[in-house]
Amino acid sequence: MKALLALLLASALVAMAGAKEIKFLNVSYDPTRELYREYNVAFAKYWKAKTGDDVVVQMSHGGSGKQAQSVINGLEADVVTLALAYDIDAISEKANLLPADWQKHLPDHSAPYTSTIVFLVRQGNPKHIHDWDDLVKPDISVITPNPKTSGGARWAFLAAWAYALEKNDNNEAKARDFVARLYKNVPVLDTGARGSTITFVQHEIGDVLLAWENEAHLAIKEFGADQFEIVMPSLSILAEPPVAVVDKNAKRHGTLTAARAYLEHLYSDEGQEIAAKNFYRPRNEKIAAKYAGQFAQLRLVTVDGEFGGWQQAQQKFFGDGGIFDQIYQH
């Protein structure tokens, strides 16, 4: 009888002491699927070796603004890896799930990699698209997502605006007219960058896609250089997609330590290498030099330098009743 009880007790203890598995949710923007698919595997190996714990990272992708709103509405993200800082600011301000100074918690304003906006055109560039001017011609069909929901679209909008301003001696009215003509050529507004890529690549709609640099490279990698080619405009914008731990959710889920390590590891050589392999421009100079050949040099404006930061830019261009609402008449 005692032996039976001992057996039962031992069995109970074994049942209660299972292997530790940490699960957390990374809410990201649209085109990072491939990046984080590869990175999550690498981090899981790293974390297992370091702590012995298994990590399972679940992903959620969508337009950056839309994703931020989902987190505000209750999507229990442990970390967010979004397209622009304003969207994480919104999570902090509206849902109070992370501190307002979240950008100070990691190097480089919590943006472990950068990117920019380029043009993806069909092979041979049949419409002879070379710069932003070509996008406002009446017979050009431009594919870009909705800046109200997509981070990439907001970067693209600002790049176009910066070009138009420069070309028109900082005349805002002319810049506004330029961007209005550009968006008049947009027949479909997807909610996110990946949707726009599908519109352009798979549905064969439009003459040019305003694409994240990594997304443009990915399209070529997937569909072949005989289908598309990348056109570098004379000027674009430095996009800094930021990352942050959603502290309150992570604390509640007991994932805070792993979530922090997950984002910190993005700055490691391994994380930077994975970013570069997926056509994100790495911060690490050594890795950047190694992959310099795949990133064309072009003139980049910054959102802080050109637009006074994201708070101002968001309010002026993309807020309700902002310039985009005024010019987009579809």
């Binding site: 209660m16 027949p187 479909v188 997807d190 949707g195 519109t199 549905h203 709609i205 509640r252």
Partner: protein, 512 residues
Amino acid sequence: MKLNQLILAIVAGAQFAFPLLAADGEATNSTGAAQNEIPASAAPSAANNSAEAAEIEALKKEVQALNQRIQNLEQQHELQQQAIANTNQEQIQELDQKVRILERQRELDKEDATAAAKTQPLVKLDANGFTLSSADTNFAISLHGLVQLDSRTFFADHNIANSGFLLRRARPIISGTVFHDFDFMFVPDFGGNTVQIQDAYLNYRFVPELQLQAGKFKSPVGLEQLQSDSVLPFNERSLVTDLVPNRDLGVELHGDLFGGVASYAAGIFNGAPDYNGTTVNSDSDNDKAFAGRIFFQPWKTSDMEVLRGLGFGVGGSYEADRNGTSGLTPGYTTDGQQKFFAYTNGVAANGTHWRISPQGYYYYGPFGILGEYVISDQQVSRTTAPLVSGDLQNTAWEVSAGWVLTGEDASYNGVTPRHPFNPRAGGWGAWQVVGRYEELKVDKSAFPTFASSTASASSAHAWSAGLNWYLNKNIRLNASFSHTMFSGYTGATPAVPAQAENVFFTRIQLTF
């Protein structure tokens, strides 16, 4: 093409129009000798021939000009056709783009509609009741209900108890969630003869392992008492529940650990006497009770199916109760809800009151067994002469078991029929036989100072057997018989404990 043919025909016609000439000429040329044989009279003919040759030459030139013109026309025609084709191609491409755009727009509209649907409130009505929730389920409200129509028929009891129908429970149950983590429950009961609020509480779920509940709810002590009213195997709980607190007002910390392998609850309450059918909504003294319970189901999440349904634990309470009669039980009742024990007038709670209840169950397939033991130790005093005090320790235990004849799994949370009652489709619901043995002993030292043997029995033990028919998840019929025997009663007849209680129960239950 037709024009070309016409020209060729003209040329052919021209040759045909001068056949002799041509034939002669050719014949002459062919013979080679004819040129040397020009007759004298041939001079005018030669002139004629020269004119004809010139005419032929002119015609040939004309034909060539016409041919050139035809070629020009054909080229123009081809260019026009090419231009038309190009235009058509452009138009087709343009139309193709428009169609693609429309198709994509339609896809996006559908995606938008799907996304919008995700933000619409969700309405659900099924066997689990009516639920209205926000799309993200952060807010929800559910309407459930429990109605029990019973009959009790007493045999050979000298007409002490009334046989008849009764509305045992009639409870609208309103529960829900606000802001994702806050649950609430409100349960009034219109059954019996008194309308009461059974449950009214708010529960904050920080995590499943740590929750804080405040309001009126079941005190965490008795296993049978904590089982939901709608899934009890018998119409009435056993004698064990006479010794544990019913619903009480207070604040409780509770949670499930390791996916329910262990659960705990600990709280501070107003304090409730041993089982009291009618609960109150306020405190009648300054004393507070502490109650708690810990329960283990070590194999709940394991693959060892045979042990998965094993659960055991212990509940208990402690109260320094010095408030007299309000802390004292109004009496212990039988399965038939007849009082067989009560303290005499002038006895009051005066001191500590503690309970401990080891408890457990085991369910495996259609079989289930539940057992519980309770000690309720209470210090009492007489408020009338003789002014004496005592520490009374009353005990009770029970074992109930059941077997689902139709093979469904038995569980602490009831039985769900595999084939709901529907004779046309060959469904007859689930059938379960149940049996129970129970016993309650009052401390012997309670007599005669604090209780009278001429009014109360010192112990009761009972057995019961029953048959439960679960027509579907919502409707259930019960029938059971209970036989209770008493000892220690020395009073007159008729009285409840003067003879055994034999009662036949039936129940029609609707729950949703």
